[in-house]
Amino acid sequence: MAGGGGTPGSSGTIELNVIPLVDVACLLIMFFILTSQFASANFASMELASPVESVAQKDKVENVPNRVIVNIVCMVNPQAREVDPALSLQAKEYSVGGNAISLDQVESLEGLFKEKMAEAKKAGHADFIVEIRSDKRVAFNYVEPVMIQAAKANVPKMNITAMERAK
């Protein structure tokens, strides 16, 4: 075995085989690079609603692909230090799967939901869910159109994203 313990009669130095260590380190780096890309696509950064004694459950979150998450992004970044309260009522855009949809194009969501529903049905999924994931500061005026488009597309189920109850 290459790099094994010192052969008999050698000077007695022990050589460590670092090849597996390098392999594992490279794999870990690849993992972090790839997961950070995939995770951010569907989950825009925002302040989620945290209801009192929340009944939100992680188990209720169905797996892709029979789920479409619509992110309603606030005009003000959650990490912003100085927040204009009036500005925080406004939504900036809708985001679905990393694709930004402007506020005046909300009606295109109906077609998108129908398309995804057809794909889910083709893949054999009985259910299809639209998940509304909105910043808690945004006015209801911006969330309601998404619900209307989902109702127009005859989406049977809707989930509302909220923080789980603090344990």
Partner: protein
Amino acid sequence: MAKKIKEEIHPRKKKPSLPPKYMPNVTALIDVLFLLLLFFLLSSKFRVEEGAIPGTLPTMGQSIGSESASEMQPPIRISVNPSGENNDAAFYEIQGLALQIMDADDLFARLSAKAQSYSDKDLEKVPVIIRARGDTRWGYVVEAFNQAARARFKSVAFAPVGS
């Protein structure tokens, strides 16, 4: 002399020469790899636990309970209205109760009291309709939805703005 004779009888075998080992210096590589790993570990944000509150959507042109109107109980209507500077707060009103509810726990208590007058089976037929003003912050609307679900109501929906 004896040694020479011994070597003639048993010539010393030359050890086959091994190919030279080339071991690149991987110390620098490992250093860089660990620095990269440390960077990604420190810069990655771990998302807090999110859950989902399940709901249903009425089909367009169909009001709540229209399919089996005879089976559905009269709806419980909750109004959510903004208050405070820049609509930073909100208050809740339950139809039939002439008071403004400021607290989520108080809202739950009143909804629970209403739920107790129905059996578990009948609760599925009691629609709760949340009517929120358009400029109410979403967090308060979710709060109303959450408290209705917490009070064991199964059919919770939203009324269109301005209805």
